[in-house]
Symmetry: C2
Subunit: 297 residues, 2 copies
C-alpha cells in the first residue's frame, strides 16, 4: 500500500511521520528547526529512508507562517516574511518538489490541522468550522462552505485584539506587535510569563490562571462565532492538554455570546460545539497527510 | 426587458425598488415595518403595481435577522427569533412565493449588500471580502472563496466583543446583550447616547467622537482582517456618510494590525483595502436585486 509523508513544520521543531492515511501513522520523528539547509537535509534523509520501505505517493506540509498558499501566485509555497531570517523567502514547495519529484501539498500548520480534523477527526462532515491551536502561539484555521479559508493570504486568528479588564488582569501581553491580542494574553508563553512558571501545564487545576485563561478563550470563541458562524470550534494545542480547561470554556462561551446567537448548534449543544481535537495531538501531522492526499487532485 | 424587484427589509422600514439590474434602479419606495400583515400587504401592492408595467421575473429580499438562510432547512426563508414579536417565525419566502408564484432570492440584509457590491460595486471580481454596515446597528456580510459565508446560520459580526479603554471611553454601550460589543460602542445609537445628539451626523467633523469612532472601526477592521483575511473591507451604512470617517479608519487599521499582516493588499494599499461602498446607499437594495437574479439559478 502506498504511503504519504506528512511534515508538521513548526518554528522550533519539525515533526514528520508517514502512513497510508491520517489514522494509521508511523511513529513521529522530530527534527529541530534551525536553518533550511540543515533542517531540510534531515527531512530529505527521512523521505529517502521511508522510500526504501514504502512507495511514497505524495508529501504534505503544514508550515509555520507567514507563507504564500495561493497556487496561482509566483511565490506559492514560499515562507515569506517570518522573523526567522534563515527561512525568509524559502521556497518550501519548490525545494521538496525538486528534491523528490513528488506531488507536494502545502498550507499553514493550522489549516493543515483543520483539514486533518475534517478528514478524520472532530469536524468530519462539517462544511463550516474553526480549528484553534493554543500553544507556543495561537493560530486558527477555518473551513467555509466546505473549503479551507485562505482569503488574501491566510488568517491570523490568534492576533485578534481582545477585551481586557485591566483591573482584573494588568498583564501587558507577550506579543511584540499587539499588547492585547489573544496570543499575547493567552498563549503558553503568556501564561508562563504572567504566572512565573516554566510551563502553563505546571499551574495546578485550582489556580486562578485557568479561570482567566478560559475567560479569554471563551471571549475568543464568541468572537469567532460572531465572525464566522461555524458549526463547531475545535481547540487544540499544548495548553488545551490541561484537564478541565475545555469544560471551563464551554459555559463561558455561552455567557460571552449572552444569548445573541440563536442557532441550536450553539445554544443546545455547547459541549458539542466547543470541543477538543478528535485526533488529539495528531491533528497537525494527520492534516499534513491530508494535504499530501489532496495534492493528488 | 424583464425586471427584478428588490426588497431591503429593515427593522424600521422596508425599501423596495425594481429594475433590470442593480445599476438601473427605479426610485425607492419606503414602507414602514409594522406587522407582517400590514407591511407585507403593502409589499404585495407594490409588486402588483410593478407587474402592471413590467414583466417581473423574480424577487429578492435582504432581510433583518436572525433568519434561516439555509435552503435545505425546514425553516428556510423564515425570520426566526427576532425581538419584534409580530415577525417571529414569519415565513418571508413562503409568503412571497405563495402570493406571487415568482422565484424568491433571500438572505440577510448584510449578505445582500455584500452580494450587490460584488456584482456591481466595490467588490467586483473579489473572491474574499467583507461588507460592514454601520448604522442603527452594525452587521457584516462576507464572501469566502467566491461564495457568501453562512456557516451554521449567519454571522453577527457587529457583536464582536471589543477592546475598550475605560479610561478613555467609560461609555457602557447600547447593546442589551454585550456591554462592549462593536454595535454597542460604535453604532449610530451608541454615538447618539454617548454624545447626547439626535443623530451621529450632527456631530461636527472636529468632535472627538469621530476619533473614537474611527478607533473602534479600525480595531474591528483589524480583527476582521485577522479572522477572515479578506481582500477588501467595505464600510457602508448611515454613519459612514460622515465626511472623512473612512480616511480616519484607514491609517488606524494599519496601526491596529501593527505590521503583523504582511500581504501587500493590506500594507501597500490601505486606501484600496478599506473603502466605502461602490453603490453608496444603494448597496442593500441592489443586493436584493442580485438575490433575485440569483434565484433564477
Amino acid at each position: 500500500m502506498s504511503h504519504f509523508i506528512g511534515i508538521e513544520a513548526g518554528g522550533t521543531k519539525f515533526v514528520v511521520a508517514h502512513g497510508p492515511d491520517g489514522l494509521h501513522l508511523s511513529d513521529r520523528h522530530v527534527i529541530a528547526t534551525t536553518t533550511p539547509d540543515e533542517t531540510m537535509a534531515q527531512v530529505l534523509d527521512y523521505i529517502s529512508q521511508i522510500q526504501r520501505e514504502h512507495t511514497v505517493s505524495a508529501i504534505g506540509a503544514g508550515v509555520f507562517g507567514p507563507l504564500d498558499p495561493d497556487p496561482s501566485s509566483p511565490h506559492y509555497g514560499h515562507i515569506t516574511t517570518t522573523p526567522k531570517k534563515a527561512w525568509q523567502q524559502f521556497n518550501f514547495v519548490g525545494f521538496l518538489q525538486e528534491a523528490t519529484g513528488l506531488p507536494i501539498g502545502f498550507d499553514t500548520d493550522v489549516n493543515a490541522a483543520a483539514l486533518g480534523e475534517h478528514r478524520w477527526g472532530a469536524a468530519q462532515g462539517l462544511s463550516d468550522f474553526v480549528y484553534i491551536t493554543v500553544g507556543t502561539g495561537i493560530g486558527g484555521g477555518a473551513m467555509v462552505n466546505g473549503k479551507l479559508l485562505h482569503g488574501a493570504m491566510h488568517t491570523e486568528m490568534g492576533h485578534m485584539l481582545m477585551p481586557q479588564d485591566l483591573a482584573k488582569d494588568p498583564f501587558e501581553g507577550v506579543c511584540p506587535f499587539h499588547h492585547n491580542c489573544l496570543e499575547g494574553l493567552a498563549s503558553g508563553p503568556a501564561m508562563m510569563k504572567r504566572w512565573h512558571v516554566e510551563s502553563a501545564l505546571d499551574l495546578p487545576a485550582d489556580h486562578v490562571a485557568w479561570a482567566l485563561e478560559s475567560d479569554y478563550l471563551a471571549a475568543a470563541a464568541a468572537n469567532y462565532t460572531f465572525c464566522l458562524s461555524p458549526k463547531r470550534i475545535i481547540f487544540g494545542g499544548g495548553v488545551m492538554n490541561h484537564p478541565g480547561l475545555i469544560e471551563k470554556i464551554c459555559p463561558k462561551t455561552l455567557q460571552a455570546i449572552a444569548g445573541y446567537v440563536k442557532n441550536a448548534t450553539v445554544t443546545e449543544g455547547i459541549n458539542d460545539y466547543i470541543v477538543l481535537p478528535g485526533l488529539g495531538d495528531n491533528a497537525g501531522i494527520a492534516g499534513a497527510i491530508a494535504l499530501a492526499e489532496g495534492s493528488l487532485g
